[in-house]
Amino acid sequence: MFNKLTSSEGGRGLLLISPPFFYALLLMAFPLGAIILFSFWTQDFMDVDTTFTLNNYRQIIEQPIYGALLQRSLFVSAVVTMVTVLLAFPIAYFVSFHVRPDRKSLWLFLITIPFWTSYLIRVFLWKVILGYNGVINTGLLNIGLIDEPLTFILYNINAVIITLAHAFAPFAILPIFVALEKIDRSLLEASRDLGENKVMTFFRVTLPLAMPGVVAAVLIVFIPTIGDYVTPELMGGAGGKLIANMIQTQFLALNNAPLGAALAVVAMLSVTAISLVFILLNRRWLRGRS
């Protein structure tokens, strides 16, 4: 069996890919299955009752708080995604089209560095920037633009959105950059030769060709933001809590893991469904043109 596997190219490839594959199967697919199963069970203090029930899902539907949290989470994720991708596109465009080729990796390196530094500390520092005695408020007070500290920038959804848009910036820039790099520059020249101006060339040639990168950027920002509980916890105040905070509370504080599991499943399903609809809406940009 083993000899047969190693003798063919396909066999060797499969053999080599199996450790990472089985690792992902065991530590990702299997636990995801477990959490779905778990969401149909109930828990009373430490005892888990394994009889099948839809009670957790019924609770999620019937109690308005869960729906409200989920709605707010999806809204925040959508706004964060939009802001992040809109801010990121010009940067990706600048690095791809206006930076000397030998300087490109330096720019990308500069863009990715903040992303690799401690997330917790970055979030905390946004609190310092946006806070009541924070950098922005003291700065604006000192130059006399405002008379008292602004309060609408911390402990609400705005603060959550700013912080998340900062945290996910490189995630949005890199896929768009890769898509822009792939564009054959002669296509742009052709468009100009045929009489289109710069702006029209951008909208009719560059942007459609960059769409696969934009779609990737949207997904890679939208999906993970739903799972963040650090930013809403530190920045959101009382009114800025999101679904991930509720999942965390159910698991760690309230000891109701099955309900937490059901919430996680619902959150995952909503995100997946929205992502699929988004891909479907953009499918005409994604058709292979290579």
């Binding site: 890919i17 992902a24 530590l27 970055r122 799972g227 937490g260 959150a267």
Partner: protein, 266 residues
Amino acid sequence: MSLRIYAIAYLVFLYAPIVLLPIFAFNDATIIAFPLSGFTTDWFGELMTNRSLHTAVKNSLFIAVMTAVLSTLLGICAARAGAMYHFPVKAGIMGFIMLPLVLPEIIVAVSLLVVVVQIFDMGLSNWTIIAAHVLICTPFCIAILNGAFQNLDPSLEEAAMDLGESRFSAFRLVTLPLVMPGIISSMLIAFTISLDEFIIAFFLSGTSQTMPVYIWGLMRFPASLPVVMALGTIMVALSIILLTIAELLRRRGMARAGVKDKGGFL
């Protein structure tokens, strides 16, 4: 030109929080706010004497080193398989392995928590964190190692095998030295991710805390915030040093493999 101004403004936005870190770490006041009052290194001194912090640092370093080694090993398997061989449902398998990249971390955390605690009834330990960190770091390792493995000429290894080396020693003697910079770069990135990771570690840490979990605890006490700033300064400085080394090695690796550097490893 206006695009360049925007780009620089964007970099300022990206770096604003990090620049503030050392400013407050050396500031002689317990309140984190302007105006600054004076220069001090007391907060760093406090770090030196803090016993529970030292335990947390030791835990974090152990977890990060194990994660770096294990995820890079898995990454090597995947990157080599992806670059050298064709096999059935290749795109599907590769996509599946890269999936943790977009999986929300809280989902990874709670699903592993359920499996470990409720299903297997095992205790949480540093190893549960390592297991989860390896899962989320492997896709990053693969992305970096792909740069080193792709375009590596398979005929080099074949030549070594024709000259009498076994398959494994051909890999060890020919391919391994060529991809070594990529491997080290991948280990450094995985190390950095694991060292800074909080969301998963918070769920899966047992009695022993990691550094980010310890910092999270400190954040509740306003008096300890300057210490957090000092600790953060050290962590960020360490991250930047490691990342710079990783980047330089990645570039050298790509040069060795004869790939044109397209920048960035994602």
